[in-house]
């Protein structure tokens, strides 16, 4: 069975906790173990961080797709009409964030389409189906 959960919210630092809670709930439901649930919670946080740079405004659209033991998450930034789009962050932080994603998920990437930035990741549960 495929679950698809979408979350749309203002690109605000204080609301990232919702992305983390949703990530942890989806991972639990997918049978991820406690360590993997925490990994996904952190990875989704890192995915979203780059989209909520201070002053960027706009909204985040976060999609979680679960298919058996595989979870795909994408976080897109919808700029405010007439807004400046998302700002490019501190390179040290970007590097730390990339190292965290490298360690915690199977695949991750970024793309830009029609001026909208998006980051995505994919993580497979280690344990076999019960």
């Amino acid at each position: 069975m495929i679950d698809r959960i979408e979350l749309s919210l203002p690109a605000s630092a204080e609301l990232l906790v919702l992305a983390r809670l949703t990530a942890a709930t989806v991972a639990s439901r997918a049978g991820f173990d406690v360590e993997e649930v925490e990994d996904l919670r952190l990875a989704v946080d890192e995915l979203c961080i780059s989209m909520v740079e201070e002053g960027a405004g706009g909204r985040l659209r976060i999609e979680f797709v679960r298919d058996a033991g595989l979870i795909e998450v994408s976080c897109g930034h919808e700029p405010e009409p007439g807004g400046a789009g998302s700002v490019t962050g501190d390179p040290t932080l970007r590097d730390l964030s990339a190292r965290i994603l490298d360690a915690l998920v199977d695949e991750h990437g970024r793309d830009t389409r029609g001026g909208q930035k998006r980051a995505w990741l994919r993580k497979q549960r280690a344990r076999q189906e019960a």
């Binding site: 630092a13 906790v17 965290i100």
Partner: protein, 113 residues
């Protein structure tokens, strides 16, 4: 659910201990950065960052600690980190920062050095 992030500081004998509790993320890292800058700028020989009560931290939190390390060194002091939770330690490990920071298991060990 309650946003339980908190910061406290204890100073004495040339040592400042800054304790953080709860989740350090992009929303709560800025107050931690301001507290660390204030503590470092008072010029203690040692600044201890106690993360024993921290339940979650991400790259923004690491960025604050890296900035604090540079600032302490520039001021001729030392920065020491206290971590015991395996999840929190994992964030340092996967970013290679266990090589960069002096990490201790208890505040007493960190104060002693």
């Amino acid at each position: 659910m309650a946003e339980t992030f908190g910061i406290s500081e204890k100073t004495g004998d040339g040592v400042s201990v800054v304790s953080a509790t709860g989740e350090i993320d992009i929303a709560t890292a800025p107050p931690l950065r301001r507290q660390l800058e204030a503590s470092i700028d008072r010029g203690p020989a040692v600044v201890v960052v106690d993360l024993l009560g921290v339940t979650f931290m991400d790259s923004t939190a690491l960025g604050v600690l890296v900035g604090a390390l540079k600032r302490t060194r520039a001021a001729g002091g030392a920065l020491r980190i206290v971590v015991s939770d395996t999840r929190v330690l994992k964030v340092f490990e996967i970013t290679g920062l266990t090589e960069v920071f002096s990490i201790f298991a208890t505040v007493e060990d960190a104060v002693r050095g």
